[in-house]
């Protein structure tokens, strides 16, 4: 798995190195790069019956997507868990600790799709594996992909997934209880994409 992460990161860097002149969205390689400044990845836990949003400030994605060729479409997302921010330093520190992400041992989470199917109406569902801490589990991701909006060569991808944090051991000790922190955590993303050559 580490080799795949690095390959993804290197591919992304190589693509970014080409600069912004990627307007030729030639059909063959439906490969996309994210514009980090206009893209976000957020998580929405329910704490004491109230929902709040946190965000991952650093993540990388290798996206191959063609609505007409879903068989060759794929998502690879690498999330830097150290970049999790919730607006409160105490809570951010707790997230890094052994009760939650334990980033000293597992600093990254990765999602690798194994298949993508159409749900109709511009909606899709990816199946794949999410690796978080030392656990890999099947996770479905629902998303929209819109590449028709101008400018050409750009696309907008939004979607979400419901993750059960306890499947991954996110929540040790007291936090194994779901009385004050729900098991289900919705993850949302809103990505500004640019066609890569």
């Amino acid at each position: 798995m580490p080799t795949r992460c690095c390959a993804g990161v290197l591919a992304l860097l190589a693509v970014l190195g080409l600069g912004p002149a990627a307007h030729d969205a030639s059909a063959a390689a439906a490969s996309w790069t994210i514009d980090p400044a206009r893209s976000q990845l957020t998580f929405h836990p329910r704490l004491a019956g109230g929902e709040f949003a946190g965000r991952f400030e650093r993540f990388e994605a290798t996206i191959r997507f063609d609505a007409a060729d879903l068989a060759h479409s794929s998502l690879l997302v690498v999330v830097d868990l150290l970049s999790a921010r919730t607006g409160d330093t105490d809570r951010d520190t707790a997230l890094q600790g052994s009760d939650f992400f334990q980033t000293t041992r597992w600093p990254r989470a990765t999602y690798t799709s194994t298949g993508i199917k159409s749900l109709g109406g511009g909606r899709y569902e990816a199946t794949g594996k999410l690796t978080l801490r030392d656990v890999a589990r099947d996770v479905r991701v629902q998303f929209r992909f819109d590449s028709t909006a101008p400018p050409r060569g750009a696309a907008h991808m939004t979607g979400s997934s419901n993750i059960r944090r306890l499947e991954f051991g996110v929540g040790q000790g007291d936090w194994r209880s779901t009385e004050w922190l729900d098991d289900a955590v919705r993850v949302e993303f809103d990505l500004a994409l640019r066609a890569a050559r």
Binding site: L47, G50, G87, D88, D90, R91, W180
Partner: protein, 182 residues
């Protein structure tokens, strides 16, 4: 005891709102102090959830109390010299203001740190301000200053009520007492 106020005494709804607000505010200090002593964790979260929920109940009841006061013109008649009436009106105005400002500052303080505010988890209030660390620090101090101001004004309020009852021996205290017959 009539629901509405009469010329002699407050009605049962005004009395209920007055004393419910008192009973909800009293534990707030102890909950906040207890939470302050605790390390981050479930227990602290639980105590702060109570503190925030009671605070939001105070806010809702205070709004109801003010709304009812405005709708209810048949208030007990004023008592005392003109300066005393003015002082009482100013004191009550300040008291209402602080009873509203205190939960609002707490609500904003939670919002600034991106913590949800609910009524015991049944209902989630929207964030009052956007996430902002510096604003949170400021509001934390504001919340404390408002609390001590509220205690000071409430102390004067209680002293004035007792002065009416024991020194002036008029019916001012009795007309707000829960089970008084006046």
């Amino acid at each position: 005891m009539p629901l509405r106020n009469t010329a002699e005494a407050y009605g049962s709804l005004a009395k209920f709102l007055h004393w419910a607000i008192v009973l909800l505010i009293v534990p707030q200090y102890f909950l906040a102090e207890a939470a302050d002593e605790l390390p981050n964790g479930i227990e602290k979260l639980q105590i702060l959830d109570w503190h925030k929920s009671l605070g939001m109940m105070v806010l809702l009841l205070a709004l109801a109390r003010i709304g009812w006061k405005v709708m209810n013109r048949g208030l007990p008649g004023p008592i005392g010299e003109p300066w005393q009436r003015k002082a009482a009106a100013a004191g009550h105005g300040l008291l209402y203001l602080l009873i509203l400002a205190q939960p609002i500052s707490g609500w904003a303080m939670s919002s600034a740190a991106n913590y949800p505010v609910t009524l015991f988890g049944w209902f989630q209030f929207p964030a009052l301000v956007a996430e902002n660390h510096d604003l949170h620090e400021t509001l934390e101090e504001v919340h404390e200053v408002f609390f001590y101001s509220l205690i000071a004004v409430a102390a004067v309020h209680i002293a004035a009520a007792l002065y009416h009852h024991f020194a002036l021996k008029d019916g001012v205290l009795r007309r707000m007492l829960p089970f008084s017959r006046s």
